[in-house]
Every structure is written in C-alpha cells, then in structure tokens.
Symmetry: C2
Subunit: 500 residues, 2 copies
C-alpha cells in the first residue's frame, strides 16, 4: 500500500486524533503534488523515510523551527517501525536538516547560516567563543596555538622507542598501570628533578597524569569547592580558568609585570580572603613570557606556608629559554610542602603521548592519588614506557638544544616584522609567545575578526582574563608556524591593522 | 666543628630557647654515648644527617610518636642548610623511620606493624579496605580481580599493529587528539554498533574515553550534584559506587535476581525520588553474572523517558557469553534518548590501552564533551590508533571465539571444585565471575582473612554494597588464574572453609 500525503491526513491522523490530539503538530492542508511515504509491505529503509521528510520540508509543509511529528506518531501514522523512523530522524539531524530539543522533539532546522561572517553587515562578526573553539577554526597562519610545530619534534625517535618498548615488555598492553604511575618512570623523574630542578623528591611523591590539563583538573577536583577563593595571575591560562570556574571558584587577581609579582598584594589577598590556592605560572609565564625572579620565589613559599594557601606551580616551558636558564622552580625553595608542582614535558617532546608529572608532599599526594584513581584509574602504561625510554636517552638534551635555537629564530622572525609597527611588547626570555599591546586606536577583537577572514589566528587578551573584559593585548605564538609562514602571516596581519 | 649530643643541648638549643621555646620538643637528657652531627665545614650530605637522626631514634632519645625538631630548628642548631635537613627528613620518611603530619611536623614512626596479621590474637585481622586496596594485596591465587589473564590476550598482534601505526602516521606523537576522540575510530565504532549492537548512531554521538572508569567519572561529573538520588543495583560495581559517592550521591537500591529487575520497584523509586540516573550493568552483571531479559530492557527505556531519569548502561562483558549471545543493549531499544551506553573493549582486548566508548544522544553528548575537555583534553591519539587498527582487522572475532572457550573452561574448572561444597550460585551465562552464597555458619569476612594469609584473594560481597553491610556472598573471578591455579587455589580455599 502507498500513502499519499492526503491519505495520511484523512485516514491515519484522524483515526488517532481523538486519542492523542496534542501530539499532532504537522499541517495537513491539501495540495496538488503528492509526496508518498514508502510502501510498508516491503522492507522500508530509514533513507526512504528521511527522503520523504526532506521533500516535505523543501515543499514548505514544515517550516523552519516548526515541530515535526514525534517518532511514535509518525510510526503509527505510517505503519513503520519506531526504530526505522528514529533512524531517519537521526540521519536528518546529522545532516543538519532538522534539530532536536531535549524532551520536546524534532524541529526543522533553519537554512544554513554563516558563523563567522554576518552578511547583513559589511563588518565580519566578532569572535566570542572559547580558546578551544578558537583553536579549532581553520587558519593558514596559525599564531593562536602555543604548540610546537610537529616538524620540530623528535617523531622519528619515538617511533623507534615505541618499537623498542614492545620488544622489552611484550605483555605491556595486557597490564593495567599503577594509579600513581609507572614506578620506573617515577624513579627516573625523581632523579631528574634532583639533577635539573634542584629539588629532592621520592618517587612516592610523584604522580603521572595524562597531560598538564589533567593535572590541573585533579588539583581542582581535590581542593576547590563552590565559593572558594582562588588566586590567579592577570592575565593567565584560559583553560585553567575554565577548570576552576567549573568547580565554582571565585577569582582574585594577582598582577604580573616585568618586575614579577607585587608580593604585598599577594600577602594582602591571602590574609583577607584565605584563598584555597594560587595557580601560577612563574617561569616564562603564559601569555606574557615573564619570569619571576628567585627572590620572589622564596618570599612566595614563605607566604604560602604562613597563610596555608597551596601554590599550584604550572611549569610547562622552563626548558625553553633563549638566554640564561631560569631560576629553580618554587618547589625547590619550599621546605614547608605548600607547593604543588606540575611539570609537563609533552609540549616540546610529544604532545600526543599526554604525559605530565605532579610533585607534591604528603598529605597532598594522597589526595591526588585518590582523585586520579576515581578519574581514570591510571595513565596508560604504554605511553609512560615510551616516554621513559626517550627520556632516559641523551637525545632529550640534544633535542632541547636544537629546539631552543629553532624557536628563537622563529621569534626573531616575528620580531623583525613587528618593527614596522608601533605595537609594544617585552621581549620574552623564554616560552612560545609574544604578548603584545596594541595602540589605543586599534581594537583587538576587531583585528581578530578581520584576521580570521584572511586565515590568520591569534588569541585576544580578553581570553586570558577570568572576567573576559576587553583588552588591548593579543598573544602571538611563534612556535607553530614556520619562518616563511610567520613572515607572510605577520605582513598580512600588519596590513589589516593598518587598514583598520 | 663537631657536635656531640650534649653540645646541641647546652649551647645551641639554650641559645634559641628564649626566642622560640615552643619549637623545641626533643629530649635533651645527657648520656654517656655521644652521637655526632656531621662536620659542617666540609660538604655534608643529607645521608649523614639522616644517619645521625636514626642513631638517636635507635638509642631511644626520640620515642615513637614523639615530635622531632623542625627543619628550621635543626638547621639552626647544626648550622646546616635547611634544604639538606629537609632532604634528610624526606629520606627517613620514605624509609618509614619517621612520619609527617600536615602543618605539624615530623614524628618518630612506631616499629613496623603487620597489617594483615594481628599478633596479639590467634585470629588474622579482618580486611576492611577498598576494592582497590584488596587488588593490591599479594596473592598467589588471584580470584579477586575480574581481569583477564594477560596470557589470553592478543599481545603479540598489538605489538605488530603499534609498529604499523607508526609507519602509517609518522607524526602521530606530535599531534593532540580531538577532544571527542579520533574521527576514524568513531566512524568505525558507529559502523560496528549498527552491525553488532543493533543501534544506529552517528560518529558525532560517540566519545572516546580513557577506559570505562573514566567514562563513569565523566558521567558523574556531568550529572551528579551533592544530594542527588542515584539508582544502583544491589549488588553493584564497587568503584562506580566510589565515584558517585565522591560526587555526593544518595543511593537507592534496585534488586536484581535470576528473573532480572523488579520493574514495579524501579517505577516506584523513580516516581518517588526522581533520581538523576540509574547506573546499571544489565548484560552479565558484575558481580552476579545475571542478564536482564529483552522484555525488561524495553520497559526500562520507557520508564526512563517517562521519569526523565538517565540510564547509564555499563557494558563491559557482552562479548563474553558461554551459551546464546545476550539481547541487544538497552541503548538499542531507546528511541527517546535517555540511555547513555558505556562500551568498554579494553578488558578482553588490551587493558593497557585504556580505550572505552560512550554513546549518547544530544544534548547529553555535548555535556560529556565539555567535561572531557576539562578533564584531560582528549584521550591520547596513539592509543586510539593502535586500537583502531586491531579492531579493524578480523582478528578480533577469532580472538573472541578462542577467549570464550578458554574462559568457559576456567569457569568449569572452578565449578568442579565447588561440587565438594554446599555453597550456592546461579551458573552465569557470561562474564568473568561466580557469585557465591556461603552457608550461614561461614562468615565471608572471616573466610577472607584466613584466605589472604594463605595467598588466596576474592572479593567479599560487602564491597558491592553501597552501605558495606556484611554479606554471605563472595565473588570469585575465574578469568585471571589459569586452570592449574584455579584447581589448587579452590582446593585450598575449601579446606580453609571446612576448618572454619
């Protein structure tokens, strides 16, 4: 049997209308053209039903944002199985033809809209998404992601080490990792820290996390309760702000400039608000590239102990310096145990492995292990062993020497182009970014809108602010694009700025 | 200069006593034997200081649980650097010679105590730790971990596939994964689900998690707020209870027996308490091995939609069946989108990779992606690609066929031994465990205490109960130990039970 649209309206809908009239929402005005539902006497595919629905939407029977018949209703009316109708709706939803609203049903999607350019105006639409959304926008000239160009990473050696790891541990993938992390790796890192970071630590005081992002999450999970005060630098790493915000933190801002922090300000804030923790990035700070002097590091650990405020030291870039090596981390100055040190190596070794390390004294480490245990039960052993074998080799140091030079050249290339402008910045002694103050007459968000339309991305300063206030600053990362792209992209960006 | 113990007491301590008398806690009675602090005019190692402290503890100058001098104090008294003293204390702490109390200082540890046997009584001490702690106890006869013997896993092929993956994607480790998971893997899984699990799903409705444990965590993070009611089966998976408890859930119990659930009970609980979610394990339920019939699966998804209660379907064992294949998952019956399906393959393929998949309709998937993004930014790409290439091959099916037979044989071996007893159980149609009811006169926790002293581990029923009430049940896993160990271990366990 075949249904014409009229047939549905007269026979089927009417038959059910009295029983459940509120569930009928589709217009049933007669029309000369008949769109037929497939014949249910043979096997009907969901594609046939979705074609039927599409045809009716195209004809205008169902208008944008109008509610479509429920799965149950259409299944009853057509005599087709509920799952087949459901599949058809799922298919149309994925295509973008319809959309679903929780607990309400399916609706006709409006015609596709441009997300970045607003055709009603000459001005491109402002970007107002998150850092993560910004990173996912396509860009020929990628200055927004503070990532290292994969061409500068030791990929080839990792392939080799991975193969080696399987020869060494043939049953590696059959084994769960220890919650706290592979002991062999923790022993190696403990030794590394005493040699390179000048602090003494036991493997029991280290935890392997699946990347620095997870380390920040575990700390927030362990210590931040709704309403807790948290000290953050202004500006600071947007994703950490997102994690703390989701846990209900209230933010207090700590200024950072070329002289470091204002220690009196920190003392006052700790005294007045008793913050749970201070999340800080003292070595080649993101986004500014600043480095906190040794003297302030000592003062900070004393303040932390005095006010019983944890210092969460996020250290992702201390190996990327262009002049002298930075001072030892805060953790090395701390004899009271109030510092928790996040050390990520992923960024400049192998982002894909997702290996970071948290150093913490007791009782903090016990709390972190318990959170890690509930979060994922432990970082995969394969990743830890591959990392271990690269880390054990002397290739790491050679890689870092080369990498520092390569990044420095890219930074200088970007600085060469900036000489054409009156944009201001402090030359960083390390890290992956330039933190630039635009002249008053140039709006960072307007510059970004135009830059994105030309395939140039960077991060507006507002994203490093917990309150997302407009800012004259922008962050330009020089680590991802190669020298040629930096030169072309910067020329283009400066041209756009001049035109604005 | 060298310090004798007397020298410290007379010169140094007295000099500081007036300034800060509250910080002096160590007894300074004179003695004939002098224990000397190292000479600070040459480079003093932390080991020399720790030997000094150890010697004084051994002599009884500092008694068990007595507070030791603070780092600052000992550093002042001895003229040695604070960090060196600190290192010495850290070293002694790791050795177990001393212990630290947060914000209070270091204390002398009591002489080592036996954790499992209590020497004051003839009876071994009762185990009262968590499931995780139980798994970490050494056991020759491992019947507590529901893990598959690594000898039954396709380790060899994984080595091969990992090498292949590096040839295919040489820059794999230089790349971050997508938060939601590798698209190629999600496409493959979407196809797999439609063929094997009889539900239609788009790759956009799948998320790759780092193991089923993380999947449960993400769901709890997204939906459980303190005080929320959560339905759980009684008994159920202990670690899920831990995750929900940590998020502040209040538990409501759903009975499960050989007929499945009591649907009226679920209806009543959902109506009365409006629980946020029902965490369930309907296919070869852990620990009982029961399987919920198809008819109840249909009723459940209707109830969930009616009461707007999410069904969290944890599916880790549906491929491990000994007779007929189980019915399709709840997710396949759900046209309203209230089911969230956790599918883990790790357990019987490669626990070390930590790959699980969550299937969820919108808007739930959006919420999960946002939690995953904050939790760790995405599961490592390496692990996903290695899993993908094994999963794509036809080896998976051959592996499963072999595995089902091997596990069945192990189960039968365990059952053979149980014929000697009057212990009761329902033969499972799949899964990794026997859920046994001991006779009234035998206490499960007493049996465990004695069994552990003989190197036999199993899980007492109380650990599957959110209130940890005593239980006559025990869970014996037959998947980890080989046939010989099962035979020996079971004979031994039954002998212990008979003696009790």
């Amino acid at each position: 049997m075949t249904f014409s649209r009229n047939a549905i309206s007269s026979e089927h809908i009417d038959a059910h209308a009295s029983a459940n009239s509120s569930s009928i929402h589709y217009p049933l005005t007669p029309t000369s053209r008949s769109i037929e539902l497939p014949d249910t006497s043979t096997r009907v595919s969901y594609r046939q039903i979705s074609s039927y629905i599409e045809a009716r939407i195209q004809r205008g029977d169902w208008q944008a944002h109008e509610r479509l018949p429920s799965v149950r209703q259409l299944s009853r009316d057509s005599g087709m199985h509920r799952l087949t109708v459901f599949k058809a709706y799922q298919h149309l939803k994925t295509q973008g033809t319809i959309y679903a609203r929780s607990k309400s049903g399916y609706y006709v999607a409006p015609p596709a809209v441009h997300t970045l350019t607003n055709e009603n105006e000459l001005e491109p639409a402002r970007f107002d998404g998150t850092l993560n959304e910004l990173h996912h926008l396509p860009a020929r000239f990628q200055f927004s992601q503070a990532l290292i160009d994969p061409n500068l990473l030791p990929n080839h050696y990792f392939t080799e080490y991975t193969k080696k790891v399987f020869d060494l541990y043939p049953k590696l993938l059959g084994t769960y990792a220890h919650v706290q992390g592979d002991l062999e790796l923790r022993q190696l890192l403990a030794q590394y820290f005493s040699q390179h970071s000048r602090f003494y630590i036991e493997p029991e005081e280290l935890l392997i996390a699946s990347g620095a992002q997870q380390a920040i999450f575990l700390i927030a999970e362990a210590w931040i309760r709704p309403g807790d005060y948290v000290l953050v630098e202004s500006p600071t790493y947007a994703t950490a702000l997102d994690v703390f915000r989701q846990k209900g933190a209230r933010f207090l801002e700590v200024d950072i400039d070329a002289n470091g922090y204002n220690i009196e300000q920190i003392d006052r804030l700790m005294r007045q608000y008793r913050p749970r923790l201070f999340y800080l990035n003292p070595t080649f700070h993101n986004p500014t590239g600043l480095c906190i002097p040794a003297e302030q590091r000592k003062q900070l650990v004393d303040l932390a102990a005095q006010h019983q405020c944890l210092l969460i030291e996020d250290d992702t870039c201390s190996d990327i310096y262009f002049g002298a090596a930075p001072p030892p981390p805060l953790f090395a100055y701390d004899t009271e145990g109030y510092t928790i040190h996040i050390r990520s190596f992923s960024k400049y070794i192998s982002p894909g492995l997702r290996i970071a390390c948290i150093a913490a004294r007791q009782p903090w480490m016990h709390m972190l292990i318990s959170c890690k245990s509930l979060t994922d039960g432990g970082t995969p052993l394969l990743n830890q062993k591959v990392f271990l074998h690269y880390f054990m080799s002397d290739r790491l140091h050679r890689h870092l020497d080369t990498l520092r030079i390569a990044l420095r050249i890219r930074m200088e290339r970007m600085q060469d182009e900036l000489q054409q402008t009156n944009w201001r910045y402090t030359e960083p002694q390390g890290g992956l970014n330039l933190w630039i103050e635009l002249p008053q007459e140039l709006s960072a968000s307007r510059l970004l809108s135009y830059a994105l339309t030309e395939g140039i991305s960077f991060v507006p300063g507002s994203l490093f602010d917990h309150a997302k206030r407009p800012s004259q600053h922008i962050r330009l990362s020089f680590s991802f694009a190669n020298e040629m792209l930096i030169e072309q992209g910067m020329k283009e960006l400066i041209r756009i700025a001049d035109e604005l």
